[in-house]
Amino acid sequence: MTTASPDRSFLRAALGHPAFVIGLVLSALFIALALVSFVWTPFDPTKLSIANKLKTPTFEHWFGTDHFGRDMFSMIMVGARVSIAVAFVAVGIGMLIGVPLGLYAAARRGSLVDEIIMRGNDLAFAFPSLLLAIMITAVFGPGAVNAIIAIGIFNVPVFARLARGAALSLWTRDFVLAARVAGKTKARISAEHILPNIANLLIVQGTIQFSLAILAEAALAYVGLGAQPPLPSWGRMLADAQTLISLAPHMALFPGFAIIITVLGLNLMGDGLRDLFDPKLRRGR
């Protein structure tokens, strides 16, 4: 029995969790890069300098230059902004739509609406996601906004299913029954008792989905369907690097590392959070 507030003990546990700390540092690094890029980059990432092209890393150009002589480091900084923004908004959309759907389905378990939501979910899972994303961008045209939509759509069922599953088990818990005995409506119970208790789960899944969305954005951009030039994007940088890989491998390596490190950071953070939120594991600590 501790007298400290749960928040402080959580913080202490979090800082003692190596995976979480590494994950936090790595993700924070790229979020910081993205934020700094708004006010400062070493070079203008859109400024061409054909004479300077394909330079390997130097003291001036830390990550070298690309086939147009643009500074790779600056591009990666701005690319971080694009990747993170697209992924964040896409996951946000998925959560904002998916979680209420899942909560609703759980509250009205077995109803027609539940059935429709769940079948719709099955359908969305059965669809080859990348193909559909490609089709969506074929319909609306490529661009960051449409990449968000394409990725966001596939996050909806993920969160709907997660929220429904977690909520269903909570609905059988005694404290929810007690709230029902207290005459609270299902909507109110969902908001007051269910949502706060699945929030941890949603945060953990959100982190994982966030990293998946960064990978998805990179894949879409790689096939030319992400953010459009001149805005740099990690996936498109890789696509540009592809034909030059034997001539200028650094063009492929640095954006690749950026993706890997960001995704790794987010995943480690997600795993760490899962451990930290799990009371079983916390007690054991």
Binding site: P6, R173, D174, G183
Partner: protein, 536 residues
């Protein structure tokens, strides 16, 4: 030579001492009862003998099984010892068997890994053992899977695999706690018989004094990782030298003082009339809609003002479903339920929220009954939602304060989180939450079943006192007959969705009319009866 001899055993887990100064001996053909409340270290003692202590454990002292010092055995030798020299039975039969392997396979496995027996021979032994524990081959062929079996039957399978090689020592860790009373009686009988016939030593671990009282030759009473008292059963019970033994004994047999008597005649607080509750069964055939399962079958009864009514029955009899119906958590298929004369819920008609304030509930699980994210203040005031004009400010404080002090907590507890309380305290908070809007009826659904005896006695006292002071009625649902007997005025016995017998609690228990009630009462282990019986 004793089959088990423990001396000066000490166990640390991650540096915390969980057991110390343990000395026990057990002779062949004897039953040693190890009794204690949760956390007393009784299971850890069993695991020390099995050498299956959790990771990070360190032990010292001497543990000898049939003369062999376990400290001298390496892991492969220990593997040979487990199952061959020592068998073990666990508390939870539902999960103690591997769901994906047949029962024959699992019993035969004990034989096959210890002897060079062929598959066929092993299965023959498995068959014999299953017959031995009462699972005849006509109904229980070897290729059945555990999920086809009831809890009691599964526990028999577990016993069969524990005794397959006729070990010298059998350890049973709360073997009947998860079972219904009638099943419990059968399993205990089986264990007793096996011990006598096979000349094994049985170490029976339980929290229930009544169980060991009728069974054990010797008793060891544990508290806080220590044996506080040990000796022959009758001696212990008659002398009760140690204060803890006395406390445990009195808590187990505790009957709270009941002052007032109910006043029948007025409008009953609760009137249940012809209530029917059906469940849809899963379809087995795509085109045939299955007949619904009738969980509650035309049940009628009443509860008067200040009356405590018990509802007893074994698992699956429909008592929990009835409770949910009374609380209007589920709709009815027939009949109606009146609260203070008003229709609270009826077939096809949902609950009437404004009436809900008249009825509150306390659930079994003290850990799952509260939203872990809220403070006690918010938890106990949740029912105010039902009141049109909930109290505010100082009045609210006063009500919270009163509810908390009423259940024996202090007003400062209102600002704590639920995880800061023990199980017994939580159950007090649950009662405070039920009390705060001053209902006429509280449904107590197995409200003391998860508590240790001493805590249970306190909560029963609290409930009895509240009922007297506040003119409360209880519907007390429990599988534990002794608890119901202790606190209720009247009792309902439920079986297969029907009330088979009802009447004054004492008369029903003393003179049960229905055969089922008779069986139930007979199966319930009774401390007094066990001690009154002549020594065997």
């Amino acid at each position: 030579m004793p089959v088990l001899s423990i001396s000066d055993l000490k166990v640390d887990i991650h540096g915390n001492t969980v057991l110390h100064d343990i000395d026990l001996t057990l002779e062949p053909g004897q039953i040693l009862g190890v009794v204690g409340e949760s956390g007393s270290g009784k299971s850890m003692t069993a695991l020390s003998v099995m050498q299956l202590l959790p990771h990070g454990s360190q032990w010292s002292g001497t543990v000898e099984v049939a003369g062999t010092d376990l400290a001298t055995l390496d892991e492969p030798a220990l593997c040979q010892m487990r199952g061959r020299d020592v068998g073990m039975i666990f508390q939870e039969p539902m999960t103690a068997l591997n769901p994906v392997r047949t029962i024959g396979d699992q019993v035969a496995e004990t034989v096959r890994i210890h002897t060079g027996a062929s598959r066929r021979e092993a299965f023959a032994i498995a068959r014999e053992m299953l017959n031995r524990v009462g699972l005849g081959e006509d109904r229980f062929p070897l290729d059945r899977f555990p999920h086809d079996l009831s809890g009691g039957q599964r526990q028999r399978v577990v016993i069969a695999q524990a005794i397959a090689l006729r070990p010298k020592l059998l350890i049973a860790d709360e073997p009947t706690t998860a079972l219904d009373v009638t099943t419990q009686a059968q399993i205990l009988d089986l264990l007793r018989q096996l011990v006598r016939e096979e000349d094994m030593g049985l170490m029976l671990i339980t929290h229930d004094l009544a169980v060991v009282a009728g069974l054990a030759d010797k008793i060891a009473i544990m508290k806080d990782g220590q044996i506080v008292e040990a000796g022959p059963t009758r001696e212990i019970f008659s002398a009760m030298r140690h204060p803890y033994t006395r406390a445990l004994f009195s808590a187990s047999a505790h009957v709270p003082d009941r002052g007032r008597k109910p006043e029948p005649g007025k409008t009953p607080v609760l009137a249940v009339e012809n209530v029917v509750r059906d469940y849809q069964q899963p379809r087995r055939n795509l085109f045939v809609k299955p007949a619904p399962f009738r969980a509650v079958d035309h049940v009628s009864f009443e509860i008067s003002h200040g009356e405590n009514v018990g509802l007893v029955g074994e698992s699956g009899c429909g008592k929990s479903t009835l409770a949910r119906s009374i609380l209007a958590l589920d709709g009815l298929q027939g009949g109606d339920i009146r609260l203070n004369g008003h229709v609270f819920t009826s077939a096809g008609d949902g609950p009437h929220p404004e009436l809900r304030a008249g009825m509150q509930v306390v659930f079994q699980d003290p850990y799952g009954s509260f939203n872990p994210r809220h403070r006690v203040r918010r938890l106990v005031t949740e029912p105010f939602h039902l009141v049109k004009d909930p109290p505010r400010g100082a009045e609210l404080e006063r009500r919270i304060d009163r509810a908390l002090t009423e259940v024996g907590l202090s007003s400062s507890d209102a600002d704590k989180y639920i995880h800061e309380f023990s199980g017994g305290q939580r159950q007090r908070i649950a009662i405070a939450r039920a009390l705060i809007i001053e209902p006429a009826l509280i449904v107590l659904d197995e409200a003391v079943s998860a508590l240790d005896v001493s805590i249970r006695a306190q909560i029963l006292d609290l409930l009895a006192g509240l009922s007297d002071r506040l003119d409360l009625s209880y519907l007390f649902i429990s599988h534990d007959l002794s608890v119901v007997r202790a606190i209720t005025d009247r009792v309902l016995v439920m079986k297969d969705g029907k009330i088979v017998e009802q009447g004054e609690t004492e008369s029903v228990f003393r003179n049960p009319q229905h055969p089922y009630t008779q069986k139930l009462v007979a199966a319930t282990p009774s401390l007094e009866a066990a001690l009154a019986a002549p020594a065997n």
